[in-house]
């Protein structure tokens, strides 16, 4: 007896009487020990014996009284799937062994040549019938089991073909031995073909066995992700005596706000922010980045990563389905459930495939019977029959159905391991066609943390005064350059004054009144607007801009008061990432709000030739469309926040992950490792996956298009070649295995 206690959400409860009704109905169900329903939380806690009761019964008990129970499929249910799979595989293995053994014995007793050294017993037709029957109806039961209800729905599938083919061989053979005189009257040899039916079943089951095992591996990545989850967390909780105690709690019970202690070598249970202590953390399982990251107070940590050196406490801020790992799992699962456009044609064909094969098989029979040659001693009927069986057996729609999804599953899984999260199969497909990659500058190519590098004041005010005015007016702005200036002022311990009539002018700068002075702070466009002459400072501005710095001008009451230059550091991986793309022949474009000169200076440092400068934030989308209209397939790389419309407009929107949010709405692909070289890897992964899919489809289609006519006997008039049904079954089994195996080869690919 296995007692299980579980809580399920209930839908449709309105009042306290509902509670009683549901509880009563549940308790009346056989196997349920206890049921407690809570109206406030709308949940039922059920204690039941899983040997005699299952969730379906719980669900129907609640259904019966008019409510709905939500049986959750937690991420953990992978275990159950695995168990069921293992059981299935074991059953299949026994069936394969028995049918091949019996098939082999019949083969020994009936195949010309071998028959001479076979024991008398095996040559006996009745013994053969005895051996063939269990194989046909016990091992082969799966085929019938799938065929009968399918026929009821007037659909057909692989199993229909196998069931039809083997039944024809079996029934003919049985007929031959039961009514030998009838067969002889027809001028046929009394010769059963039990070996065909049994060996075909054995081989196809064998193929299925290998296929099932290989297919399990295609979704390994997701199982790995699920398995990464920590099981318990050490939470600091206040005990009744007021002391704080450390207790181990199951991960499901961790709530937001819990303080958790992590020691060296331990897995970090959920997402959160470090409160105390520091450590280096191995985040490779999430980001694919192998070098541990140093973290201290205030830094975010991600669940399922491993704490290497120090001990620290942190506050949980995302648990359960909101955690980063859960989001990643969800994203990968979604991607694996989506369909690549390339699959459409395979879909279309496979929906007509089986009926067409059945019609071809009938035609084969007719043609062979009516105009087929009948060599000496053989009859037309026998040829017609064997070729018909061969056609039914050799057709393999499974290979077509497996070609695309298995490759997509391996490809998206491989990406996830390397920190490349692909939203759907379509994005993965388009990515390989990309000809142009547009990078947003700030925060993508650069750190996004600009710093003040130069302060130049005109003679009217001091440098401190300049910084003070600039910082005062920028205090209210959210621009990243503003942050740099405010930070600088804080460092210099400069007090900030209050501002009135503050106004931000998009793409220009900010304005306001400080101590009765009208202050304008922004770019050259703002100065033009305000009619502030730059005079001799123009030269200096251009000089700074040529160094890749962004220069902002401060005007006080219509006169230039000073310049502040701000520069952003380029990310370490930017140059390599761009070179990697250019080596693939992909054009790289940089898009930025900076002026031409600054932008060009940064671009030339990175080796970028095409620059779109002075682009206002709301124009980025239009710029993407402009490049698309040149006939290019565009990928846009940005942070996914400021440039969401541009990401959405691009053929492929790639977001560089920020923090713990992986499900960036506008992005097709999210790179969580912040490494720009991954952009090129993503395109490479897409190319590789697409090549695998194309090989698979070519193989699957080619196989069916070539071998079905061969099985029909098209080569016979020229080369006297006929395909025995046994060979047909070998070919069929190997074709779907080879498709899956080819997809699995992708795993070997190093990004």
């Amino acid at each position: 007896m296995t007692e299980i206690k579980k809580t399920y959400p209930i839908k449709g409860m309105h009042c306290a009487s509902c509670v009683g009704v549901i509880e009563k109905s549940l308790k009346r169900t056989v196997g349920i020990k206890d049921a407690v329903v809570n109206l406030a939380t709308e949940k039922a806690t059920v204690t039941y014996d899983s040997d005699i009761c299952n969730e379906e019964q719980i669900s129907s008990a609640v259904d019966n009284v008019g409510y709905k129970v939500i049986i959750q499929q937690e991420a953990v249910s992978g275990d159950q799937e695995k168990q069921e799979k293992t059981k299935e595989l074991k059953k299949l293995r026994i069936k394969v062994a028995v049918s091949l053994l019996f098939g082999g014995l019949i083969f020994w007793g009936s195949f010309p040549g071998l028959i001479n050294i076979a024991p008398e017993l095996l040559k006996n037709f009745w013994v053969q019938l005895l051996l063939a029957t269990p194989v046909q109806f016990w091992a082969g039961w799966d085929f019938y089991r799938a065929t009968i209800p399918a026929l009821k729905h007037r659909t057909a599938n692989m199993d229909t073909l196998v069931a039809l083919g083997t039944t024809v061989a079996y029934v003919y053979s049985a007929f031959v031995i039961f009514f030998p005189s009838v067969v002889m009257d027809l001028g046929l040899e009394v010769m059963p073909y039990f070996d065909v039916a049994t060996i075909v079943i054995g081989l196809i089951l064998l193929g299925r066995y290998f296929e099932a095992r290989a297919k399990g591996q295609t979704s390994e990545a997701i199982k790995k992700l699920i398995g990464m989850q920590a099981k318990t967390a050490r939470v600091l909780r206040q005990a009744q005596d007021g002391k704080v105690k450390e207790i181990d709690v199951p991960i499901e019970q961790v709530v937001i706000g819990d303080v958790i202690r992590v020691r060296p070598g331990e897995k970090i249970p959920v997402d959160g922010v470090i409160l105390e202590g520091e450590s280096s953390i191995d985040e490779s399982m999430i980001t694919g980045e192998s070098i541990p990251v140093d973290k201290a107070k205030g830094d975010t940590v991600v669940g399922a990563t491993i704490n290497k050196t120090g001990t620290f406490t942190y506050k949980a801020n995302r648990v359960g389905q909101d955690s980063m790992l859960a989001q990643i799992i969800q994203l990968v699962q979604e991607a694996q459930g989506s369909k690549a456009p390339i699959q459409r044609i395979a879909d279309l064909i496979s929906s007509y495939f089986v009926p067409i094969v059945i019609m071809l098989a009938i035609a084969t029979f007719a043609i062979w019977y009516v105009i087929g040659p009948s060599p000496v001693g053989e009859s037309a009927l026998l040829f017609a029959l064997l070729n018909t069986v061969a056609v039914l057996i050799i057709a393999c729609p499974c290979a077509m159905g497996l070609a695309t999804p298995t490759a997509i599953m391996v490809g998206t899984g491989l990406g996830a391991e390397k920190g490349i999260l692909i939203k759907d199969a379509e994005s993965l497909e388009i990515a390989h066609k990309v000809t142009t990659v547009i990078f947003d500058k700030t925060g993508t190519l650069t750190q996004g943390k600009p710093e003040v590098t130069d302060l130049i004041s005109t003679n009217k005010i001091t440098k401190n005064e300049l910084l003070k005015l600039a910082a005062s007016i920028e205090k209210g702005s959210e621009h990243s350059l503003a942050e740099a200036i405010v930070k600088k002022a804080e460092e210099e311990k400069i007090d900030i004054e209050s501002v009135s009539k503050f106004k931000a002018i998009a793409g220009h700068g900010v304005e306001g009144v400080v101590r009765k002075d009208k202050v304008s702070f922004g770019n050259r466009r703002l100065m033009e607007r305000e009619n502030i002459a730059l005079g001799s400072y123009l030269e200096q501005i251009e000089l700074l801009e040529n160094e890749g710095k962004t220069v902002m001008m401060l005007g006080v009451n219509g006169k230039l008061a000073g310049l502040i230059a701000v520069a952003d550091t380029i990310k370490d991986s930017s140059k390599d990432g761009i070179t990697a793309l250019q080596n693939k022949g992909i054009e790289v474009v940089m898009i930025t709000g900076d002026n031409q000169r600054t932008a060009k200076a940064i671009a030339s440092k990175l080796g970028i030739k095409r620059v779109l400068a002075e682009v206002l934030p709301d124009q980025k989308e239009a710029e993407v469309r402009k490049i698309q209209s040149e006939g290019k397939i565009v990928a846009m790389v940005g942070d996914g926040i400021n440039d969401a419309p541009a990401l959405a407009a691009a053929d492929v929107g790639i977001a560089m992950g920020t923090g713990t949010d992986v499900a960036i709405e506008a992005a097709d692909i999210t790179l969580i490792n912040k490494d720009l070289r991954t952009v090129a890897s993503t395109i490479a992964l897409s190319k590789k996956t697409m090549r695998t899919i194309k090989v698979n489809l070519f193989w699957a289609f080619g196989y069916n298009i070539l071998l079905i006519p061969v099985a029909m006997g098209i080569l016979y008039p020229f080369f006297q070649i006929l395909l025995s049904p046994i060979f047909a079954s070998v070919a069929m089994a190997s074709s779907s295995i080879s498709v899956v195996a080819n997809s699995l080869l992708l795993k070997k690919y190093k990004i």
């Binding site: 969730e55 379906e56 799966d142 599938n157 459930g337 009926p355 007719a366």
Partner: protein, 120 residues
């Protein structure tokens, strides 16, 4: 041509026409879902095969697989990016909330069995 050949030809022709009619000329029966949930039994196919649901409403589809064949062990609703393992004899609920009208096909993992969600 002997009589047996003529008989074979006639029966083959009938067989081909019958196969075509039986599998490819089947009338599609649409089950209109009026409540918030619909049960689909997975047994040698999907029953009902075609369901029609209104746009913009969350509908729960409960798949119950009774067919032990591995072919039907997964259901794929690619339009909703869902690929789900269906344990034998266990109801698996999938919630969808389509925002666009149209046809959303679903199928088994190998794409051999098909069904459709029509959003109206």
């Amino acid at each position: 041509m002997t009589i047996d050949k003529i008989i074979v030809l006639i029966f083959s022709a009938i067989g081909i026409v019958f196969t075509y009619w039986f599998f490819l000329m089947k009338k599609e029966k649409v089950v209109v879902v009026t409540s918030d949930a619909v049960d689909i039994v997975v047994d040698g196919g999907y029953q009902p095969e075609i369901i029609s649901i209104p746009k913009g409403r969350t509908t729960t589809i409960n798949f119950l697989r009774k067919d032990p064949s591995g072919c039907l062990e997964e259901v794929v609703l690619s339009g909703f990016k869902i690929r789900k393992y269906l344990p034998l004899n266990q109801k698996i609920s999938i919630e969808i909330n389509p925002q666009k009208t149209g046809e959303y096909p679903f199928s088994c993992g190998m794409n051999m069995f098909h069904g459709k969600v029509m959003v109206i």
